[in-house]
């Protein structure tokens, strides 16, 4: 099948960039992922702990199909690296000899590293890289590298070869000094034309500096001849003033420029640099891409550059939250012990100061950075586990924004522990404490008194700032940024820029947390895919058939052991002989071969050319394993053996080859090889149709995103019309009317040939697995139908929670936010007749019965208040809140509302406002509350009381369970992982989006819908789902059908077949964790490669070696 392969460029290899790349690659595109940093992972590689687990867990985002990066066709755009990652064995000898020490950005500058270093200490596989900005190119590392992986001399300016041709030695010598010694280029010299031509014939050059007036052959003649030898050679003529005309003539025949002698270095060097830059350019990869995903993220606010540095950089022991994160880390400056920087004393009292560089107009941030509240809570919680229970954390904050899914509960759990104290307040500045390295800070407490306290350490919760890269990128791509530098998107989308084909993921369009970044990344990816798809680039069929390997399934194991030798000595030789003899005791080991330096190119060649005719399994023992990436496949191809039949074990190069650890590793490897059989490629057929449950904006957006890829969609809606909550919403906070957007979306859905809409319909039953589900759908007044589909998206939405609090239901003057919206929408609100409106936030939210923040209520209250104010400027509006949750760019509306004279009163849940309804001629509602600022009562006579009751889920438990998904404790869709896999259920093929996940705004709902569609397309876009290499199987003859394996499988990958007689494994869902194998008492269930026999062999091997 001749299908076009679409390709996409993803800029920024942080978490969002990686997510977007993986999504696009899994959909079958060729993806180029570019980043400035020498490693992937962005800021998250620096954060070891994430709430709610207070651990990392990033590995859970990795493709569920384990394995080989090249399968995803991700190509890195890479400036040539001076260290060959294929050769580097990570021994670190280069780093030991490197004389350059620079602050380590990875540890936020808290430690130092060498110029040749490991960018992320805990990467696997891990290879060194050279910081080219810091490297002095002294070359010390190059000779010590045991594998010749460092090619510094062939890099950069050294690789740029200049030929200086002049008959005057003084010119030659000074140019050699300027360009060679000072600037670091490789300079060669020729004293005459013929000598120059000889050199040009012998080796390539990039630039020739050519004198015109030379005895014998003159410059012009040299130029003519040189251009025949090396047509690409750039030539700069050097001329005396008298022969400028000749120089100009020379340019006509191909010289690029000339210099008039005598000249200063300042005249020459920029010209050479320009040629060098052009030369470097050609070294970059250039790709034509169908769409671009930008995910360049944000940077942390640097307090030292602000108007108010908060003591940062001047007062000891004031650190940023990112620095604190590194201080907590096991790979941080103090190896996971919490010590303060100045004197390394253990930290026992620390204060977090929130909103440093956020919500601060003085530092140009009329926005909330969104992440810092949770960040501080998490750091406080983790610090307590690192530093011990006597650690005292104080968080000084303005509003505690626990706005996201499960954030409120995490917050409550954290701040209710002893030792974590929350103080509402704001610290104005930080000064040193004379005679001490402690930090004293002063602030005004909520009750009004001035507090002064001394801490061991103060952490500044620094805000997010648009990346400096963003402005450049935006300008180049012709997209808009807002006043803060964030990329502007089209209305109702968080990821589409105004320019078609350019999408933004992650924090680029405004600060947000990990989960939302990941969602936006997936949304951007699916939108990029739509663009490419529309332009004719297709989703790709499975391209190459894997090489056919020898079938060895019926042969007894015959193992070739290849051992690598680093050094040649009599001792090593005798050790190797002893080891060989020992290994050969096992009749399965038919051959033991010793090779030199497998890590070098020669060694690798020798390995690939090893004769494997008489054997059917190969074990390679070397300093480092080759099980990662391309090398394993390379070996498989050259041996003609399935990769699972090739094992590679690490021999400790610091010990002799017969060291027990080495022998144990080899014996374990042999045991594994003896018991492994080539695994046939498992895959399951996919039904290329999606079922979307719920016809609100999320459901419709998901359906459109999928259908735009040529995959059919059945969209099931319970009510008689599409639209969900958007049917009663009037406009957004920025005044965009909702009806046209809704009508347009419904129109697209109706017209789309790939979408079948079923209104008045409900899913009444379902079963199946990723790739093939069956759902029974009941439609009012019609016979039930069964739909077969490969994935399901639950977009069942939510509704405004009902309430009877604050006299709701007893008076026309008490309404919910939705009722207010409806009155506005239906023109039933006489704003002129009213003098005052009170809004109460968090009615039944952030405490039982809805112990979560519904997120939309604060912006909604602002929206309504500003609308009312615009209608009737004299109207007094009072908003009673607990914490204003105006995260991200919504903060600006909060500022605007204050400016408009809307009054805000903070209340605590233990001191709620009191409401009474008046009769007769009185103003209908009286609201009494306590103003914490004045510490005094306030009485408001209100014509209208508006209650924000929050959102409750409409995801029926039975529906979730029918697809093997679960609901969280609040009734929302339980995602597989709150951060890394936010739109999918643990059970593969089941996705959630929109409010079904958690309360969210329209653009956020659309983003989740697109993200879910993108994730679903990774299943729906293929004909067969590939299975992971390591999966569990059932040996039916042994199986007793106790079903313990079915119960224990965390992925629901096991099921009893229709006849109830066999336990089956869905190989596409099985992740190979082996829990089933352990639950099974008689090894009827085993994981490929980890059978009991093989494990017993490994255990024996380990102990035999002792």
């Amino acid at each position: 099948m001749d299908q076009k392969i679409g390709s996409a460029l993803v800029v920024g290899a942080g978490i969002s960039g990686i997510r977007a790349s993986i999504d696009l690659a899994q959909m079958g595109y060729r993806v180029t992922l570019a980043d400035r940093a020498p490693h992937m992972g962005g800021i998250l590689s620096q954060l070891d702990y994430q709430f709610p687990t207070d651990r990392c867990g990033m590995c859970r985002m990795l493709p569920m199909v384990e394995g080989e990066p090249d399968k995803f066709q991700v190509t890195l755009k890479q400036a040539p690296s001076p260290v060959d990652p294929d050769c580097c064995i990570g021994c670190g000898q280069c780093s030991e000899v490197c004389p350059v020490e620079v602050p380590d950005a990875f540890n936020a500058g808290l430690t130092h590293r060498k110029a040749v270093y490991l960018p992320v200490p805990h990467n696997i596989p891990n290879t060194y890289t050279i910081d080219q900005a810091a490297c002095t190119r002294c070359g010390a590392c190059e000779p010590v590298c045991p594998t010749g992986a460092i090619r510094l001399s062939a890099m950069g300016r050294r690789a740029f070869r200049i030929l200086v041709v002049d008959d005057e030695s003084i010119v030659r010598n000074s140019l050699d000094a300027w360009l060679g010694d000072e600037e670091g280029y490789t300079v060669e010299m020729a004293a005459s034309g013929p000598e120059a031509l000889e050199k040009l014939s012998a080796a390539p050059f990039h630039l020739m500096l050519l004198d015109i007036k030379m005895p014998g052959m003159d410059g012009v003649e040299v130029l003519e001849k040189a251009r025949v030898i090396q047509p690409a050679l750039q030539v700069v003529m050097m001329t005396a003033y008298a022969t400028v005309e000749t120089a100009v003539d020379a340019m006509k025949i191909g010289a690029m420029d000339y210099l008039v002698k005598p000249f200063e270095p300042d005249a020459l060097i920029p010209k050479v640099a320009a040629v060098y830059d052009a030369f470097q350019e050609t070294g970059y990869l250039k790709r034509t891409v169908g769409a671009i995903v930008l995910a360049t993220g944000t940077t942390c606010f640097d307090p030292s550059v602000g108007k108010n540095p908060m003591g940062y950089g001047t007062v000891p022991n004031v650190v940023t939250s990112l620095e604190f994160e590194r201080m907590l880390s096991g790979t941080g400056p103090d190896a996971g012990r919490l010590c303060r920087p100045s004197d390394k004393r253990p930290v026992k009292r620390a204060a977090w100061i929130q909103c440093v560089g956020s919500r601060d107009l003085q530092s140009g941030a009329d926005f909330c950075s969104t992440i810092c509240c949770m960040f501080a809570l998490k750091e406080a919680a983790v610090a307590r586990t690192v530093a011990g229970d006597d650690f005292q954390a104080t968080i000084i904050y303005m509003d505690m924004r626990t706005f996201g899914k499960s954030f409120e509960r995490y917050g409550q759990q954290t701040w209710s522990t002893d030792g974590v104290r929350l103080e509402r307040g704001r610290v104005h500045s930080i000064a040193p404490t004379p005679g001490s390295e402690d930090v004293a800070i002063r602030w005004t407490s909520a009750s009004g008194e001035t507090r002064e306290e001394i801490f061991d350490l103060v952490v500044l919760s620094v805000g997010q700032r648009a990346n400096d890269q963003t402005a450049l990128l935006a300008e180049e791509l012709g997209i808009d940024t807002d006043g803060f530098g964030f990329v502007r998107t089209v209305p109702f989308s968080d990821t589409r820029t105004q320019r078609v084909g350019v999408f933004a993921g992650g924090t680029l369009t405004g600060p947000t947390d990990i989960a939302e970044s990941v969602i936006r990344a997936s949304s951007a990816a699916v939108n990029a895919s739509r663009t490419i798809h529309r332009a004719g680039g297709g989703l790709v069929e499975k391209t190459a058939v894997p090489d056919a390997y020898r079938d060895v399934s019926r042969e007894p194991p015959r193992i070739l052991v290849v051992l690598c030798r680093c050094e040649t000595s009599a001792e090593t030789d005798s050790d190797l002989d002893a080891l060989s003899a020992r290994l050969k005791q096992d009749p399965a080991v038919t051959q033991v071969v010793v090779l030199e330096h497998i890590c070098t190119a020669d060694g690798w060649n020798a390995l690939t050319q090893t004769d494997t005719a008489g054997v059917n399994r190969v074990l390679v023992g070397a300093c480092r394993t080759f099980t990662y990436g391309k090398k394993a496949h390379g070996l498989a191809a050259s041996f003609g053996l399935d990769p699972s039949l090739i094992e590679s074990v690490a021999m400790d190069d610091r010990q002799g080859p017969d060291a027990p650890a080495t022998v144990a590793a080899i014996m374990a490897g042999i045991s594994r090889l003896k018991n492994v059989s080539a695994i046939e490629e498992n895959s399951i057929a996919v039904t290329n149709r999606a079922l979307v449950v719920g016809g609100g904006i999320a459901g419709m957006s998901a359906a459109l995103a999928i259908a735009d890829h040529g995959v059919d969609v059945t969209l099931v809606e319970e009510s008689e019309q599409l639209g969900g909550n958007l049917t009663w919403l009037h406009q957004t906070i920025d005044g965009a009317p909702i009806a046209p957007f809704l009508d347009d979306t419904i129109g697209q859905v109706d017209k789309h040939p790939g979408i079948l809409v079923m209104t008045d319909s409900r899913v009444v039953g379902a079963f199946g697995q990723a790739g093939h589900f069956f759902s029974t759908i009941e439609t009012a007044g019609e016979p039930t139908t069964t739909v077969e589909h490969g994935a399901v998206i639950l977009a069942t939405g939510g509704r405004e929670a009902p309430t009877d609090a604050y006299a709701h239901g007893t008076s026309e003057a008490v309404v919910t936010q939705r009722e207010l919206e409806t009155r506005i929408h239906e023109n039933r609100l006489d704003t002129d007749a009213m003098k005052s409106v009170v809004m109460i936030q968090c009615v039944g939210s952030r405490e039982a019965p809805r112990n979560y923040c519904s997120r939309v209520c604060c912006p909604t209250a602002l929206k309504q208040a500003l609308w009312l104010k615009s209608r009737s400027p004299e109207l007094q509006i009072y908003i009673l809140y607990r914490d204003m949750m105006t995260c991200g760019l919504a903060e600006a509306w909060y500022t605007e509302a204050r400016k408009q004279g809307i009054l805000f009163f903070q209340y605590r849940p233990d001191r709620k406002p009191e409401v009474s309804i008046n009769t007769g001629d009185k103003v209908p509602v009286s609201v009494r509350l306590h103003d914490p600022i004045l510490d005094a009562p306030v009485e408001i006579a209100a014509d209208l009381l508006v209650l924000a009751t929050g959102i409750e889920s409409r995801l029926p438990e039975a529906l979730a369970l029918a697809y093997g998904a679960e609901r969280d404790q609040d009734g929302f869709f339980q995602e597989a992982d709150s951060k890394w896999r936010p739109v999918e259920a643990l059970k593969a093929g089941v996705f959630g989006c929109g409010i079904a996940l958690s309360p969210r705004s329209i653009p956020e709902a659309v983003a989740t819908a697109e993200a879910a569609a993108g994730r679903a397309l990774t299943i729906l876009a293929v004909e067969r789902l590939p299975a992971a290499r390591t999966t569990a199987i059932v040996r039916h003859s042994l199986c007793t059908l106790c079903l313990r394996c079915v119960d224990t499988c965390p992925y629901g990958a096991r099921f009893l077949d229709d006849a109830g007689q066999r336990v089956q494994v869905n190989p596409a869902m099985c992740q190979g964790c082996g829990d089933c194998a352990t639950a099974c008492p008689n090894s009827a269930s085993i994981v490929e490669g980890f059978s009991h026999r093989s494990m017993f062999g490994a255990i024996e091997g380990a102990l035999v070696a002792m």
Binding site: K307, N308, C355, R359, D360, L361, Q362, M398, G425, R426, V427, H428, S429, R442, W443, T444, S445, G448, T450, K835, S836, Q876, Y878, T895, R898, K899, Q900, G901, L903, F904, Q906, D931, I933, L934, D935, A936, P937, V938, E939, I940, A941
Partner: protein, 199 residues
């Protein structure tokens, strides 16, 4: 009027609209308290700046006027510098003084007269003449004890040669014209604030 007493909203207080320009200056306040924390005179104030701004926003003119908080503002601008909302707090303090003096608030009579007489001396001479200024102030205060309250400070300053006695050596440059122009402008205070653009 006690700030702790019940605040009734919408405000029923008469003439609270004179606060409106100042309310507009500080309406974006989020009551974070940074101003209070950074104010060097806060300890002397009967109301913390934060409370006072809250009263301003709530339109409680009389409670504000009863406070001496704004009188005690020494125009150091620290709060303005530190305010995360970037509000012109020092100028708002000044504006409150203006209202208090315009209303001839009895509580602030001393401060008002001090300022008036100071400026009058400046108007007459184009500079400050300490002896004349203090004399005018004492007369205006109509308080027999006032001179004695200032005596220790006065003597101390005289000892350091900081007070010019008698007619003085330098010539006067009366500023009557300038003062008239300012008075003109001050008759339309709202316009002034808008022009300076503190929204």
């Amino acid at each position: 009027m006690n700030p702790q007493s019940v605040t009734t909203l919408p405000t029923a207080e008469e003439s609270s609209e004179s606060l409106d320009p100042i309310r507009a200056m500080v309406s974006a306040c989020i009551q974070c308290g940074t101003c209070t924390g950074s104010c060097p005179n806060a300890l002397e104030m009967d109301l913390t700046p934060r409370k006072m701004w809250r009263l301003v926003i709530l339109g409680r003119l009389s409670a504000v006027m009863e406070s001496k908080t704004f009188i005690l503002c020494s125009d150091c601008y620290t709060c303005t510098l530190r305010c995360p909302r970037g509000l012109p707090l020092t100028e708002a303090m000044e504006a409150l003084k203006g209202i208090a003096f315009a209303r001839k608030e009895a509580r602030h009579r001393g401060s008002r007269l001090f300022y008036e007489k100071f400026m009058e001396t400046v108007r007459r001479h184009g500079r400050i003449r300490e002896m004349e200024f203090m004399t005018r102030y004492f007369i205006a205060m109509k308080s027999p004890v006032a001179p004695f309250r200032f005596a220790p400070l006065g003597l101390k300053l005289m000892g350091k040669g900081k007070v010019e006695l008698g007619g003085g050596k330098s010539g006067d440059t009366p500023l009557g014209a300038l003062f008239e122009k300012v008075a003109d402008l001050e008759r339309t205070p709202a316009a002034t604030f808008r022009k300076e653009g503190h929204q």
